[in-house]
């Protein structure tokens, strides 16, 4: 059938060259939310944005809907079946089998087979509709609240309403264009509860494994709509989200309510790591800024990374060291907290977005040109 079609097409083209020139065919290239990711050998040589280490398996996501997984610590890779070809930005697994990947066009993908096949659970259009409905509801509630409120509180509430209406207008005008905004991070507790979040402060929560999503932006004090870049859970159960312009918010009730932390640094934060200690975390971002807090973000201590490279991802080693990777091929590491940080710029200077500790003294680095195996300092073997 396909062959017959092709032949027919060729015949038609031969017959109608002049016609074809006058009226070109009207097929458009499929939208990235509809077009499945192409099966390609280049997925591990192209931009990969995030990876998750499930022990048995490593799963990484990247440009053009690429999701790849490896069962031999990154030596060989298989490409997963993905129904979209948007740029994917982050991946997290709630259980070894249930994982979520997020990306541009507001795409949220789910896998229930340890990352081999994926289904689209949410896209930017649906996400925007959910957010608009929630905000309209909040606006109505807020208007009622203003009417009932004592005069001295009215001013603040009206400001809040203004902010809400402004972000509502933005959402509506964005929706006219389409699913314009990217998801930038994902965190799942188990196979049912998790958050996806991204540009301009959008954040959604599910408690049924992604069947339904709730707009959770109302629970975060983020009136300026800063991008939400990363989220993690700390020892002791605290949750933390970091974002643009030093945005840090924490939750001690498993994500129901969120508390804004006063930022120790005005620049953007791109990552947050948990440690072995309860309520302790390390955050990092623009120009090598590195901060640590042991009390769920109440007080912060600046740590000299001795680098000005923007840091995108990091990991603690078993021996108490830290390794961070960033733009310009920067690998910033220290053997323990007794040692100062040292920076090594890889000679290819490819931007690095993520890393996995694949063995003793062995790193798997991910970045703009896919994966590379290096030693603990980020140098090629």
């Amino acid at each position: 059938m396909a062959k017959w079609l092709t032949r027919k097409t060729i015949g038609a083209i031969c017959l109608g060259v002049s016609l074809a020139a006058a009226a070109p065919s009207a097929i458009a290239v499929e939208d990235v939310l509809v077009k499945p990711a192409r099966d390609t050998d280049l997925a591990t040589q192209n931009l990969l944005n995030d990876a998750v280490d499930l022990g048995e398996r490593i799963v990484a996501v990247g440009e053009r809907g690429h999701i790849v997984y490896s069962d031999d610590r990154g030596e060989t890779w298989s490409q997963a079946e993905v129904p979209v070809s948007v740029t994917l930005t982050a991946v997290d697994f709630g259980t070894p089998r249930h994982g979520w990947a997020v990306g541009h066009s507001g795409a949220v993908l789910h896998s229930s087979d340890a990352g081999e096949t994926w289904q689209l659970q949410l896209d930017g259009v649906e996400a925007a509709r959910i957010a608009i409905a929630a905000k309209e509801e909040r606006a109505v509630a807020l208007e009622e609240q203003i009417e009932d409120a004592p005069v001295e509180d009215k001013g603040d509430l009206e400001w809040a309403l203004d902010d809400l209406m402004f972000s509502l207008e933005n959402l509506e005008s964005d929706l006219e264009v389409g699913p314009v905004n990217p998801m930038l991070s994902v965190w799942f507790e188990n196979d049912s509860h998790g958050f996806v979040m991204g540009a301009y402060g959008m954040i959604f929560r599910t408690r049924d494994g992604g069947d339904t999503w709730q707009d959770w932006s109302g629970e975060l004090a983020n009136p300026q709509g800063f991008h939400l870049n990363a989220m993690t859970a700390l020892k002791g159960g605290g949750l933390v989200i970091v974002g643009e312009a030093g945005f840090i918010t924490v939750s001690d009730d498993n994500g129901d309510t969120w508390e804004l932390r006063e930022s120790p640094y005005p620049g953007s934060l791109f990552g947050v790591l948990d440690t072995d200690n309860p309520d302790e975390m390390m955050v990092f971002g623009l120009r090598g800024n590195l901060l640590i807090s042991s009390d769920l973000g109440e007080r912060w201590q600046t740590i000299a990374s001795n680098s000005t490279a923007t840091l995108n991802a990091g990991a603690f080693t078993d021996s108490g060291g830290v390794i961070l990777v960033g733009n310009g091929g920067a690998v910033v590491s220290r053997a323990s907290d007794k040692h100062p940080f040292e920076t090594y710029f890889r000679s290819d200077r490819d931007g690095l977005t993520s890393l996995v500790l694949v063995g003793p003294e062995r790193l798997l680095l991910l970045g703009e040109n896919g994966v590379v195996h290096t030693n603990a300092a980020g140098k090629n073997f």
Binding site: V32, L42, N229, G267, L286, N327, G367
Partner: protein, 785 residues
């Protein structure tokens, strides 16, 4: 035969009775045309070397103005031989070179880029936004601190791999060029520009700073080198004339019989060049070879005149009578042979490439002139001078001395030898057919295929490819959109989709377009965060992201934007598969918003040329063999004669293609004419030999006896002609222009092998095909009628 024949053709009387007037006329014409000939200019016009009718080229030329900023630039890599670029001396020299290039006429100064120009900057994201500066630190003073700052700035810029080599041992001065000078309106003189680069940049600075090497690449430099290569052909002309003169003297042992044919042939060359100039032609790298052919053909026909005169003079005729008799004997077969040459050349008109058509015109013109100079001027001069005694004696002695050799060679027609010859020929054919399977279309070597692999240009090119992130083979797909729509989301996504499709093919290294620019800048505008490396659906963001896109990627009214596809090589298979995939994509997705048009870039031009060559090749073969066969049939009225003459040519053609396959010479614009020229000129040998052979058979001789007499009377002239023609082209092998060398090598082979085929294989075929009894019977029957 010793009585002077009385019947004088009208033409002969006309010429020989007015010889003074005619000679004066020749003198005036020669002075006039010679004056024009020396003023002819080299001309390596790019357009004339490509198939202008091919749809790819039509598209390319239609959008030439839109793509102007894409292709025409030179890159000057300044390499530090010892140490790296971070020394005061190196940076000083680089500054001087940058300044010098700035003032070269033809350089688009606003686009000039080097570490020293203010448009080369580093940028860094900070909490407040961007910060940046020129890569050369403020208050640069050559101190160690400032050089270290320079190193940091380079690392923070994105110029490593572009302006700065990966190993920090060289940097590039990038100079975009104007096709036409905006001040004077004159087109860029590639020859002069290239010469300036050599003198004012390469020589000057390699001398002033012995620690640097300069490497220059770019279309303008390549064309400049080609033009210089055309000039060096003059030396080859000198060598060819010298060798031919020596050979001719060895052959004739007569000073006049040597110098007059050489002189007449040189006159033919002057006429040919002079007329070409008057017709408005220049000398391109192809047509510059025609004078060699004209000279060689002139000599080989001149030899016939000298030979005939010597024979007549030996019979006792005075120079005037000897010249007249020689003319009378030769003007009809001579004109016939030359006309068949001309038909061979005309088949070149099938190739839709201007240089080749010009080649056909120039060669056809040359052959016409040879008829005049070597069949009229030459005997006229000789009628005044005459053959020397030495020359006559040489002819008289020659016959008997050589007989034993001719006797031995006549065995090629022997019934015992002929089957062996045919067996060898069949084996040769089989071998040829086997090796010929590997023949490729197009240029096969790396770098600029017009120049030799070890040429300065190709070494420079290799240096840049090794040390910088660039590919030499670029296919450009033009994406046409409505005005101001070239950066719409749909357009960028379609381009991105095409690029990804192509990058997944073997043979494609990478690709670039506005889509890449948009992704990179969108990422940069989002604090350098790789998660934003995507084409935004928000048109405002796209517009911001392409605001500073390189001018080559977007035309003035935003209606055309190119996709650059970097290929691993320019082999025909690579080009074919990639181009086919693009066409498939274009058929499927071209619409009112975006139309995908092939093709520009050197790979696009080569893909088009290859298609034209492939389709012209078979047509040309059919035509050239058809014409030759028809001419032979008209001359001899016998299919068997046609087979005897044409089969050896076919064997040579097959062996020629086998040699091409083995020595890595592809079928291309330059080598396709070789087949037409080789067959068109090569058929002369067979015609001469068969004509004599038939004559002697009809006179009642056996085949072998007839062949012996054939060799005796014409064998030497045929062999001499083969060697002369071979000499005429063999010097090209040393040309700096690669395709001239290929042409010289192949033509040398074809001229010699066609001669050998005529002498060795023709009689063997005759042994099986010709039936002397029947031939005589038929001739008798015809005479009786």
């Amino acid at each position: 035969m010793s009585n002077p024949p009385t019947s004088e053709p009208l033409l002969e009387r006309l010429i020989f009775n007015n010889r003074t007037i005619i000679l004066i006329g020749f003198l005036i014409l020669t002075l006039f045309l010679g004056y024009n000939a020396v003023k002819i200019q080299p001309d390596a016009s790019f357009e004339r070397m490509i198939p202008l009718e091919h749809p790819y080229i039509v598209n390319m030329l239609e959008h030439r103005d839109d793509l102007e900023n894409l292709g025409n630039f030179v890159r000057i890599a300044v390499e530090a031989k010892e140490g790296d670029i971070f020394t005061q001396e190196y940076m000083q020299t680089l500054k001087e070179i940058t300044d010098e290039v700035f003032y070269l006429s033809g350089v688009d100064r606003s686009g000039l880029k080097s570490l020293w120009t203010p448009n080369v900057r580093w940028v860094e994201v900070t909490e407040q936004g961007f910060q940046g500066g020129t890569v050369i630190p403020d208050n640069y003073d050559g101190s160690r601190e400032k050089l270290e700052e320079l190193r940091q700035n380079i690392l923070r810029s994105s110029e490593v791999g572009r302006l700065v080599a990966d190993n920090f041992k060289s940097t590039v001065v990038f100079a975009p060029l104007y096709e036409t000078n905006p001040e004077t309106g004159e087109p860029l003189d590639y020859g002069a520009f290239s010469k300036e680069l050599e003198e004012k940049i390469r020589q000057k600075y390699e001398q002033s700073n012995p620690n640097i090497d300069i490497h220059i690449v770019g279309f303008a430099k390549k064309v400049g080198d080609l033009i210089e290569g055309i000039g060096s052909i003059a030396y080859f002309a000198g060598i060819t004339i010298l060798l031919t003169t020596l050979l001719l003297f060895w052959y004739s042992r007569c000073v006049a019989g040597t110098l007059v044919p050489v002189f007449s042939s040189i006159v033919a060359v002057f006429w040919q060049l002079g007329i070409l100039r008057l017709l408005g032609y220049g000398l391109d790298p192809y047509s510059v070879l025609v004078p060699f052919l004209v000279f060689a053909i002139g000599i080989s026909h001149g030899v016939q005149v000298v030979n005939a005169m010597a024979i007549e003079a030996a019979k006792g005729f005075d120079p005037m009578m000897a010249a007249r008799l020689a003319f009378r004997a030769l003007y009809i077969p001579g004109i016939l042979a030359l006309v068949s040459d001309a038909f061979g050349f005309l088949t070149l008109l099938f190739i839709e490439v201007d240089v080749i058509k010009d080649l056909a015109v120039a060669a056809g013109l040359g052959v016409a002139i040879v008829i005049i100079t070597n069949l009229v001027l030459h005997p006229l001069i000789m009628s005044h001078i005459g053959i020397t005694k030495g020359g006559i004696r040489h002819v008289q002695n020659h016959g008997e001395k050589q007989d034993r050799k001719w006797r031995l060679m006549s065995n090629f027609a022997n019934p015992k030898v002929a089957p062996i010859s045919l067996l060898i020929a069949t084996l040769g054919l089989g071998t040829g057919l086997y090796f010929k399977q590997d023949i490729k279309v197009g240029d096969l070597d790396e770098g600029a295929p017009e120049l030799r692999a070890d040429s300065r240009y190709n070494k420079d090119n290799a240096f840049l490819i090794d040390n910088y992130s660039t590919s030499a083979d670029v296919l450009v797909v033009m994406v046409k959109t409505p005005v101001e729509q070239c950066a719409q989301y749909d357009v960028l996504m379609a381009m991105d989709s095409l690029q990804w499709e192509l990058q997944n093919m073997p043979g494609v290294q990478s690709s670039a377009s506005l889509a890449n620019v948009s992704k990179v800048v969108t990422k940069a505008l989002n604090e350098g965060n790789w998660k934003w490396y995507s084409i935004s659906r928000n048109q405002t963001i796209i517009n911001a992201s392409i605001r500073d896109a390189p001018s080559g990627l977007i035309n003035t009214d935003c209606s055309l934007t190119p996709v650059l596809v970097f290929l691993e090589d320019h082999k025909a298979e690579t080009l074919e598969t990639v181009v086919a995939r693009v066409e498939e994509f274009s058929d499927k997705y071209s619409n009112e918003q975006h139309e995908f048009l092939l093709a520009a870039g050197n790979a696009g031009v080569e893909a088009a040329t290859n298609e034209v060559i492939s389709s012209a090749k078979n047509m040309m073969l059919v035509f050239v063999y058809g014409v030759v066969s028809i001419l032979c049939f008209l001359s001899f009225r016998s299919i068997r004669a046609v087979v005897c003459i044409v089969v050896p040519l076919g064997l040579t053609s097959v062996l020629c293609e086998a040699i091409m396959a083995v020595s890595g010479i592809g079928i291309k614009v330059a080598t396709l004419p070789v087949i037409a020229l080789g067959v068109g000129i090569g058929v002369d040998y067979g015609i001469y030999i068969y004509a004599k052979l038939e004559r002697f058979i009809l006179d009642g001789m056996s085949l072998q006896e007839a062949y012996f007499e054939t060799l005796r009377s014409t064998g030497k002239a045929v062999m001499f002609t083969g060697v002369t023609l071979g000499l005429g082209v063999v010097t090209w092998i040393f040309s700096p222009i690669k395709f001239q060398a290929d042409m010289g090598f192949l033509l040398f082979f074809m001229f010699l092998w066609n001669m050998i085929g005529a002498i060795w294989l023709l009689p063997a075929l005759a042994r099986f095909l010709l039936q002397p009894e029947k031939m005589r019977a038929r001739a008798a029957a015809k005479a009786a009628k």
